[in-house]
Symmetry: C2
Subunit: 415 residues, 2 copies
Amino acid sequence: MKSDLDRLMAERDLNAVIVAIDHAYSAAFDYLVGSVGVTGGIAVKKRGEAPVLVVGGMEMEEAAASGLHVYNSADLGYYDELKESGGNPTKATIAVWGRVLNTLAIAPGKIGIYGVGEYNWALAAVDLLRAAYPVYEFVGEAGASTLFDQAAVTKSADEIARLKSVAARTNAALEATWNFIAGHHAGADETILKPDGAPLTIGDVKRFVRRELLDRELEEDGMIFAQGRDAGWPHSRGQSEMALRLGQSIVFDLFPRELGGGYYHDVTRTWCLGYAPDEVRQIYDTVMTAFDIALEAFAVGKPTHLMQEAVLDYFESQGHPTGRSQPGTTEGYVHSLGHGIGLKIHESPRITHLLKNDTFEVGNVVTIEPGLYYPDRNLGVRIEDALYVDESGQLVALTDFRKDLVLPIRGVKGG
Amino acid sequence: MKSDLDRLMAERDLNAVIVAIDHAYSAAFDYLVGSVGVTGGIAVKKRGEAPVLVVGGMEMEEAAASGLHVYNSADLGYYDELKESGGNPTKATIAVWGRVLNTLAIAPGKIGIYGVGEYNWALAAVDLLRAAYPVYEFVGEAGASTLFDQAAVTKSADEIARLKSVAARTNAALEATWNFIAGHHAGADETILKPDGAPLTIGDVKRFVRRELLDRELEEDGMIFAQGRDAGWPHSRGQSEMALRLGQSIVFDLFPRELGGGYYHDVTRTWCLGYAPDEVRQIYDTVMTAFDIALEAFAVGKPTHLMQEAVLDYFESQGHPTGRSQPGTTEGYVHSLGHGIGLKIHESPRITHLLKNDTFEVGNVVTIEPGLYYPDRNLGVRIEDALYVDESGQLVALTDFRKDLVLPIRGVKGG
């Protein structure tokens, strides 16, 4: 939680952190500052103190909405330094950073650099920073357990409330999508017909979903609606012009977030329109069993990798290749079991056999998403819910949507 | 243009560039690879050769859609190194980068690092890279004239065609928004009434605009619809719950892009609903004159800063403070005159007195956007078109939408 930041900074011996943004959404900036419409600048947090903001004059008003103390970069010498340097905006920016470190009386030592933007800028700017302020050690941090990852691994009640709201709106968009598709009739060649007689395509469905999200103040950050062979590739988005067909496995992975950047939901369903072939049904049942095995493997305080290993044991016992039995395989169970969600779509804790540091804790919000993939058999199945660990240590689903394989289509027997 | 990349790499003495992405849109990656649904990985371009891609197994299929040669990171030893390093994904990633440099036989020397993602990751990863492969010098690049900025400063015919399409769709969304607002009646207290009798708010308008964009396969990357005092702050987004009011200046800055990331358009209009007070009209006419002065100052081969200086001269002659007469001012003309647009909202050339390196060239696509801001007088005015320099050296508007100040409202005299 945010209240852990000072402790986590102390563990890293960081006297301050600078979180910079430049026309890209940064979860760390949002975490420190809140959702304000600032497109560039920095948040600086001295250990033990509230963050402050430094922005250009044009963004003072938006920055003020954060409730934090805001500095105008002009008042910290931006334009003086720009002139001095003969028009070098990077030098001017770095000079402003130096002034704010001085203004906040940051003690010599380590300063963490976070935020999102162009890597090339970061490398060049930090070289300048290091040369200009040798009293500080400016450091980055990689891996799955950075400062902000570790803070965000447990969510506050406010964050859980926002995640519940995003979940409820996502559930409603799923329901609307199901009803939209189910409102169509089957046509020739196992297609689904639109009222004008043209086949319903993946592009049509995605357009529908985007509008449903927007009406609920959500936005997609990509979306997977992949059919047949494409469903066999976990990250294939699906081809817009492809017509939906009866009896194909369709992987629908929806991971929207609050409009403009914010908390995510993440859910996957696998659908067969009209009817399910035996081969798909069999794989589906295996994945559903894996899902239940995962839930049963949950306990607060338990290493997360053990949940993945329970699922790996099961899939392997059923004869499926996995990322453990055949690292890098593109058939069978090829990915991790789940991940935290929050202001990023992939957060800690990670539920994988490849990283063994995480344990389940109260306040975690995670996905559980076993799947099986056989692109050469034109089939893929994934089932995913997002869940949170409540105060009593129970794993509670945020996703609330039926896990039916067959989505009935008018004019199809049983549909 | 893309065909300039090898020359620009040679000028920088770069033997290769690595463009990395990680769950964030990178214009450089899109420029090299095209719009593919890859969420992580790298594009590597050896000087003089076509780029190649390195992605995880789950994204092989999406990556293949680029038509480029694609390597699976598993085949380049990702999982071996992950095991070797005791589960350190950053080390495993860096090892893959080393393998691909080796596979492509990149000669010892400079390698440019580009892309978008977390700064903290970049700093830590590049430290590892430098330690692991001392034969290379891994470099970043800051400022307004990086490798990709310089390449993108002139657009190809294909790029112009896409920019024209985005412009046409944005023009249509503007027209729809104008008609939407104009379809309302005035109510009490200078408000505008919805059919249900409630006042029309900025949030209502933004929701309308987002749907209009989505229906045209565009997405907003922020949007400014700021009224009264907020209009006086150039980057204030506007407050959703605020009711629209007659006779206030409203700055509407719309800069959508192709859905999922891609080419931008950028246009601003200033509207007064129903009627315009004399004070706003006067400022508006001054900004329109500045706009015309800017167009007259255009010539291929001319330094861009001279266009800004012509506008500065005019505004100052009319008694307005500017960023030249009072650097850092938040009243008067407080920003630059324009900027390139493309896969980024702010590209080269820059049209400002603060950077003097750019000259207008055939293939430039720029905004021209003079404005005047007086937040304490509850007013701001900005007029912006996007334009391109055609083969004959003429500046041609991409934006095609009326520059009327007064948007008529039913029930208002003259409205």
